[in-house]
Each structure stands twice: as structure tokens, then as C-alpha cells.
Point group: C2
Chain length 136, copies 2
């Protein structure tokens, strides 16, 4: 099957410069602020986003290293298929985060509850809609 080619729409400005500094799951990371800079060409695409409390952000984890289809999940000594884990080392390293929108400043979104390192490319931003996206 053919390859799929995407161009980043933005970049993450993060307090973490290395993977080792980032928390394991961003959703529990409520203190530091991150800035999602959407490139100027796409800025208009953010209009109206202020009405949402949470956003879905899809990033390309550029430092991810996919090696094996079965890996040890965090805190487990039994290997599991990589698609049955939230490891960042998936064959296509697309990181999914639900982030809390603090404010928009022009083409920048100030958010919390993220784990991406500085310079992570952003592929897409969508509103998080609890009636669609929240499951028990």
C-alpha cells in the first residue's frame, strides 16, 4: 500500500528538551504550560477554538524508535503487542493527547496536560467533544 505523506501544521514548545524529562502520560501532568505554535499559514484555522476546554492534539513523535512488535508495557514483566500498549514506539509514532486549553494567543495555543518534548511536530488539532470521545 502506498505511503502517506503529511506536512506538520505546527510545533510544540515544551519545557522538556529530552525524552527522559517527559512524564509517562501527559494527561496527569497538570503543572507546566506548553505552547502549540500553529504555523502562520494555518492560523485562521484556529478561529473559534477558544470555546473548547479540551483539545485533541496529534503529534509526530520524531524521537520514537520502533523496534519490536512485542514489548514490555510499563511496570510489567510480560511482553505484549505494541498496539495493546500506549508506548510511543509504534510503527507510525502518532501521539494522541487530550490537552487542556488555557488560552489562545494568535497562532499559539497555551495548553496543559501534555508530554511532548520541545520541537515535536504537530500534525492536527481538533476539539475534544465529551459526548463523542468519552467512554466509560
Amino acid at each position: 500500500m502506498n505511503c502517506i505523506v503529511y506536512k506538520p501544521i505546527g510545533i510544540v514548545h515544551s519545557p522538556y528538551t529530552e525524552k527522559s524529562q517527559a512524564p509517562r502520560q501527559g494527561t496527569l501532568n497538570e503543572d507546566p504550560e506548553f505552547v502549540i505554535e500553529v504555523f502562520q499559514d494555518f492560523s485562521e484555522g484556529l478561529d473559534g477554538i477558544e470555546r473548547y476546554e479540551y483539545l485533541i492534539v496529534l503529534c509526530h513523535f520524531h524521537q520514537s524508535q520502533f523496534r519490536e512488535l512485542k514489548i514490555f508495557p510499563h511496570g510489567s514483566n510480560e511482553k505484549r503487542g505494541v498496539f495493546a500498549t500506549r508506548s510511543p514506539n509504534h510503527p507510525n509514532p502518532i501521539a494522541f493527547s487530550v490537552v487542556k486549553l488555557i488560552r489562545r494567543e494568535g497562532n499559539s495555543l497555551v495548553v496543559k496536560c501534555m508530554d511532548a518534548i520541545n520541537g515535536t511536530p504537530v500534525l492536527d488539532v481538533k476539539p475534544y467533544i465529551p459526548s463523542l470521545d468519552s467512554k466509560p
Copy 2:
């Protein structure tokens, strides 16, 4: 910024052959079954996935047509930025779905609550973990 290249890990077998047949939001689409066929090379990566009730599936909406940064959201007569909508016509058309896992059959996942059309490329599958992914 450089382009990002992904290779599909699978393909969706769907009762819908055209976009016009698909519901607007898959999450409300509880009747038909869909099959996510993960290519044989990646099959082992599914081991252990049966323990999850819901999965996050990222697809490439290959028939999406990005045209404008401001669009009319469904049922609205006021334009809004495309990133503030769940329109499929985003610059990078990565579809995010939370699907209900019915069963695994080898390298196929039988799921419900989807809206992809037949032949949609699958980029990634991850477990949906309510404590991380569900927001009020």
C-alpha cells in the same frame, strides 16, 4: 519543516463504499460491524489487545478534501476555523475514532462505532484507557 511519511499498518473493511453513506460521527453508529484488518506483518503487535473494551484507531481519510481554513460546521451558518471542527477535511486528514472492540480474529479486529469507508488506510491502533483519555 520536513515531510513525515507513514506506511499504513492495515485497512478498514466497512459496509460503506462511499462517503455519502457514512454517518457523520462513528461513535453513535452502534449497529454495523467493521473489520480492521492489520496486515500480517504486524499481526503479533495485537497480542493482548482483547483485554480492552475500546480502542483508539487513527486512520488516513484518503477521500478527504482540504480546501479552506474556515468552513461551515455541520448545522451552523457561521464559518469557523477547521481546527475548531471535527470536519474530515483537515490539512492532514487523520481520523480519530474510539471504537468498541467486539472480538479479535487473528490479524483482524471486529469493531463497532466507526464511520470509515471501505478501503480506508489504518495508521495506528492503541488501547483506550478511560483514566487517561476521558474528560468531563
